[in-house]
């Protein structure tokens, strides 16, 4: 009897322990490369660390006081929020549109899908470089084309407004394919009976989309909203290689500003405080979305 009991206990222990054993390599890596630097970042945010082989000195809340009086940081955060507000719906719309088109039985569908997905496989740095070569002012292919067509050159990346909207366009070009795949997976998982029932009820194509497709995509929509939102909040390598934050800081977004503060101005402590604030903003955005979705019953 005691042996049986011990064996049962051992079984329960194994049941509980085994998942953690399998998770441990990932948790180790996550802890080492994500959690530890994050904790160090929070610690640095209370110091005057400059990262030049010096020892950080505790200065309390001074960095937080300084950053709340920094108009340039405020401008960069506001610029980032505008970017999220504008780019997110555009990416969302185009990725959904592409997904709806590409789940249809089109001829050459695999090639078309691959074509739209292709930009996703290119790193942001390379995407930025490619579009800089295309759109830059005096030597860009875009202006060369306008010249050839006799339209005449226009001010491209030297124009703050053009540069800002170019970031929106290039991000959408680069990432719409990724979210398209997610939407396609969600679209293909909608039971066909729902469409058949709607058709029998006399629903037209638009009504079927509105009352069957769109509500069925709710979990996917939420996930894409959060993932794309966070990705745009954290935009950096694309901007660095594409516009370098210019012209005249028109495309200076929060992460680039933090990077510059840390590694050009050598104020790693202050930059860490900025990062903590950024994390708070992204968390508010994410938790807000989750709460909203929960209230509407999406999750």
């Amino acid at each position: 009897m005691a042996k049986k009991e011990q064996s049962f206990k051992s079984y329960i222990f194994r049941q509980k322990a085994v998942p953690y054993v399998f998770l441990s390599p990932n948790m180790l890596i996550f802890g080492l490369f994500i959690i530890t630097p994050a904790i160090m970042g929070v610690y640095f945010s209370f110091t005057n660390f400059r990262g030049l082989g010096d020892q950080p000195q505790w200065i309390g809340m001074q960095n937080y006081v300084n950053l709340f009086t920094d108009p340039d940081l405020f401008g960069a955060i506001l610029n980032t929020i505008y970017l999220v507000a504008v780019t997110l719906p555009i990416v969302f719309f185009f990725s959904l549109l592409l997904a709806i088109i590409l789940v249809q039985p089109l001829r050459g569908r695999p090639i078309i899908r691959a074509t739209y997905y292709w930009p996703v496989m290119i790193s942001f740095l390379v995407v930025g470089l490619i579009w800089r070569w295309i759109l830059r002012d005096s030597m860009g292919y875009f202006n060369g084309l306008l010249d050839t067509l006799g339209i005449g050159r226009i001010e491209t990346l030297l124009n703050p407004r053009f540069a800002w909207w170019s970031v929106v366009f290039v991000f959408t070009w680069s990432r719409a394919g990724y979210y398209m795949v997610m939407f396609m997976a969600a679209l293909l998982s909608i039971p066909s009976q729902l469409y058949e029932a709607a058709e029998i009820d006399g629903a037209n194509r638009w009504q079927r989309f509105l009352h069957v497709t769109y509500p069925s995509l709710r979990p996917a929509r939420l996930m894409i909203f959060i993932l794309a939102g966070m990705e745009i909040f954290k935009i950096y390598p694309l901007v660095e290689s594409f516009t370098r934050g210019g012209p005249n800081y028109a495309t200076e977004f929060a992460v680039r500003y933090i990077y510059e503060t840390a590694f050009s101005y050598r104020q790693i402590g202050l930059a860490s405080a900025m990062s903590v604030v950024m994390i708070a903003i992204v968390m508010i955005f994410t938790l807000g979305n989750l709460a909203l979705a929960k209230r509407r019953g999406a999750i």
């Binding site: 990262g51 082989g53 010096d54 830059r136 516009t243 005249n248 510059e260």
Partner: protein
């Protein structure tokens, strides 16, 4: 493409040497390096010569300049510092507590531009001296009858004459802009010095940035941007890259780009005197690179031995001849062949700069984060948004003094 090959050669050297170093007694040092042109190629061949003479292996580790200090800081924090490192005044200043003092390692009388710590000990062996200067596209200038002075002319143009002449290039079909300035604020320094004034009133205490002379200097830069004499595109594309298109008449830069021009320009190019200030004052900004040893590498003595070996005139001159750079060695007489007139022009700019002005920049490099501060200033000169030269310079002065207070 050239950079790719430099990197390739450096990597092949790195891995080949690393693969060969199986003998435990064989010493292997790491040298951290950055390049503007072909310096890595030349240093790699000198390191091979050192290996043949001494059996000591030095691995060249090329790092991009934009992450250079960050990488060095990380390596020092991780106790994985290189034994040797190529330095600027800024790097030596920022990391001076981590640099090996080199007193007695080389003949200090034999070199110019030595960077010393507070105790007066040298922190690097000066390798070369740099100066700002004016590259021009002779094909374009001659095509549109732009008059320019040449080396040895007594009558050198001032900024008004320069702008008048270069304006002839505006609006031409095969010209994008008359010229380009590197976006780096460092290029602003000669304009200041040509006004006969330094940045510092009292070094690291008070500044001259709000003086009329400083305002006049910045106003020249602001007018060059506002009148579309120089392109704002430099803030996203390298000025040298724009110049290589052959659609720009001049490029305000420094002598470190000579080999880049030599390798890439497919037009007739050269260097002409920079414009003078109102009193006819010629001036450039003096800088340079050094070779330093890093504390804590465990190879400090070996690093010093290499620096001593490198300071020999024939080795030092070999590096500067093939790069090609102006030598920091007193009395060096290097034959640069066809490039003699070009490098001579930079040497003229240095010679014409009063010695009272040359120490000014060294004090600037002692302000942490000085480069982005003055780069912000040049960005503001290009995009003033209603600010005057005085507003911009007041902001810069405040930033610098705040940093010193910290």
């Amino acid at each position: 493409m050239k950079k790719f090959f430099v990197l390739l050669i450096a990597m092949v050297t790195f891995f080949t040497v690393a693969a060969c170093t199986t003998d435990d007694d064989e010493k292997v040092l790491e040298m951290m390096w950055f390049s503007d042109g072909n310096e890595a190629d030349v240093m790699a061949s000198i390191l091979q010569k050192y290996y043949r003479e001494t059996g000591v292996v030095i691995m060249l580790n090329p790092i991009g300049w934009n992450v250079y200090e960050t990488r060095l800081g990380t390596m020092i924090d991780g106790d994985d510092q290189p034994a040797l490192i190529r330095t600027t005044e800024g790097v030596m200043n920022n990391f001076q507590d981590h640099m090996v003092e080199l007193d007695g390692v080389f003949d200090e009388e034999g070199f110019n531009n030595i960077f010393r710590n507070a105790a007066g000990n040298p922190l690097g062996l000066p390798m070369d001296v740099t100066a700002n200067g004016l590259y021009v596209n002779f094909d374009l200038l001659d095509k549109y009858d732009v008059n320019y002075p040449t080396r040895g002319d007594d009558d050198i143009w001032d900024w008004d004459e320069f702008i008048t002449e270069m304006s002839k290039l505006k609006g031409q079909d095969d010209v994008s802009y008359p010229g380009v300035f590197d976006f780096q604020g460092h290029r602003f320094m000669p304009l200041m010095y040509q006004q006969g004034i330094t940045m510092w009133d009292e070094p690291l205490e008070s500044m001259n940035l709000k003086s009329q002379e400083a305002q006049d200097a910045l106003q020249i830069l602001m007018d060059l941007y506002a009148d579309e004499i120089i392109s704002k595109e430099v803030f996203s594309t390298g000025a040298q890259e724009l110049m290589m298109s052959g659609r720009y008449g001049f490029h305000m830069s420094g002598n470190w780009f000579v080999s880049f021009y030599e390798d890439n320009a497919d037009f007739n190019w050269g260097v002409v005197p920079m414009p003078t200030g109102p009193e006819g004052q010629r001036a450039t900004v003096l800088g340079g690179k050094s070779l330093s040893a890093v504390k804590g590498s465990g190879m400090e003595e070996e690093a010093k031995a290499f620096i001593e070996w490198f300071s020999q005139p024939e080795i030092h001159d070999e590096f500067n001849q093939f790069v090609p750079f102006l030598s920091a060695r007193v009395g060096a007489d290097i034959d640069f062949g066809d490039l003699d007139p070009v490098l001579g022009m930079f040497q003229d700019e240095i010679s014409a700069t009063p010695t009272t002005l040359t120490a000014d920049w060294v004090y600037m490099t002692q302000v942490p984060g000085i480069y982005p501060m003055i780069n912000d200033m040049t960005n503001a000169a290009a995009y003033p948004n209603g600010k005057s030269a005085l507003d911009i310079l007041t902001e810069l002065e405040q930033k610098i003094l705040d940093e010193l207070d910290d």
